[in-house]
Symmetry: C2
Subunit: 316 residues, 2 copies
């Protein structure tokens, strides 16, 4: 007789929450973790908060992203927003909706990924809500702190500043193309699509170095710099020769007849940071890719970019 | 030629967000509202946070709950968790997932409800995420503050304390029975089901009066007091004669052949507060309904309650 896998429906709501939260370690700022009506923790300086929602069939397919990597991604994309303010992560809350017939082991794997990425981000998983739904949906909220510093906004870029990026560009878009064609390699791109690599602390580092504006690249570099340019009422011009085109992105572009630079400039979901700095203030790990001038909009080598600049969740 | 209603898909992600957030007033604690990577605000004392997820087809049906009342409900149920800690609401974030073919006016109505309930709660709508999904899903996160007071936990009830409630019990469950049978009245019950009436400030009032433990009644009074009793390692006994049975609940029970007390003791989603107080410390607006003793579990008039005590989101 085949063994029926245990489902979230057969486990039940409260035992499922118990499994997700049992043995969870809390950071020193947290006085009340999961299990009460709400979580309690200390925030040093102003609080910073953001929420990101990932929906099955829209942001991911379960056969393309293993549960543990999805858990990591969900935490990473929310924390990336706090990095872009120059903030430090303190607490994460998960709003998880899953079908009743989903295997309980899938949720256990997801929880392991959530916990691992929280640890990497220096945040405590302090609470959440688990409910039933047709499609797996993850709403991740992160609350962080500024430790007395002002936030780095999108609106502070000034003519004369330089534009710099830190992190990967084009990797996740390359990975998505690979998966869409039914392949699983280059493995590095597929893994980049499954979960971005967020360099925790890079946002605070940029803030300390004097970044005048910052944004996290979720929709695509041109699209997100467009938001920054618009908020700052400046023009941004990128120098295409400054970008490293990673070998696996070059390989995928060649195999699909695409332009590798398009992946780098318009691919979303890598969650790199893009920031503007006064000349001479760019931290060593950042790559200078352009400059800020009077005007508006984003250009590449002085020209308008032909084609889409990024991602609209309702347009596709 | 019929006019095609505007849909969220035809409006697009960023214009939709713009419509939700335009003209939004921010409280004095908020320095960065919607429009940047994250929101920034001050928290007085420890931060308190909770998330609640509402899923179409699980927690609501769109034909049973108008969009504006759904928006109010989503904010109210999250804020109710903070009330149960004795906290004050400061900031709300909305994670909204909607089908692309949903009418844009529905989202506008929802946003109006969210904004109205935030105002009632004294909270600012500081940010969110809007994405596509098959079913409407709302993940509401609220961040609040304790203003120097300790939180009221579930675990502080002591033998000799009295148990008191503030708010409605049985109304939402009655309203759900009405709607399930295809009726729309008693109107007061239907409206109670559509959106709970949260008495903002009642949680802080209980904390100041010396409440030893508190919980918000989302699953049903017996179920939620069960969590409190378990966390406090005490027994709770309720005196059934102390409860007011509201006339509309009595009417629905009579019409459906049900027991009105069952609605009051096990009906969820009214988001009343239940708390324990040292004898003589109960604030005037609270109704004393029982007492705390050595032991474990929740009894009614000294007896075990036969039948279900509340709601499990995966069991039904």
């Amino acid at each position: 007789m085949p063994v029926t896998p245990e489902t979230v429906g057969s486990v039940g709501e409260f035992p499922l929450i118990e499994r997700i939260t049992s043995g969870l370690a809390m950071g020193p700022a947290v006085s009340v973790g999961p299990g009460d009506d709400a979580a309690v923790f200390l925030v040093n300086g102003s609080a910073v908060t953001s929420v990101d929602v990932l929906v099955e069939g829209v942001h991911f397919r379960r056969d393309w992203v293993p549960a543990e990597r999805l858990g990591r991604r969900a935490v990473a994309v929310s924390c990336s927003d706090l990095e872009a303010m120059g903030a430090h992560q303190v607490a994460v809350l998960v709003g998880l909706s899953v079908p009743g017939d989903l295997e309980a082991s899938w949720v256990a794997d997801l929880a392991r990924g959530i916990r691992a990425e929280c640890e990497a981000a220096g945040a405590s998983l302090v609470g959440g809500d688990v409910t039933r739904s047709r499609d797996v949906t993850l709403a991740m909220t992160v609350v962080g702190e500024l430790r007395g510093r002002p936030p780095v906004l999108r609106s502070g870029a000034r003519p004369g500043d330089v534009v710099a990026v830190r992190g990967r560009l084009g990797w996740a878009a390359g990975g998505l193309q690979v998966l869409k064609r039914g392949f699983r390699s280059p493995r590095a791109l597929v893994e980049a699509y499954q979960c971005p690599v967020v360099t925790y602390g890079a946002g605070a580092e940029a803030a300390l170095a004097g970044a005048t504006a910052m944004v996290d690249v979720s929709d695509g570099l041109l699209a997100d710099l467009g938001h920054l340019a618009s908020a700052s009422e400046v023009a941004v011009d990128l120098d295409s020769g400054r970008f490293d085109i990673p070998d696996p992105v070059r390989a995928v572009a060649a195999a699909t007849g695409g332009d590798p630079l398009t992946y780098v400039l318009t691919g979303g979901e890598d969650h790199a940071l893009a920031a503007t700095f006064p000349f001479g203030r760019v931290p060593p790990e950042w790559l200078v890719v352009g400059k800020v001038a009077d005007g508006q909009g984003v250009t590449v080598d002085g020209e308008e970019w032909a084609g889409p600049k990024g991602w609209d969740h309702f347009a596709r």
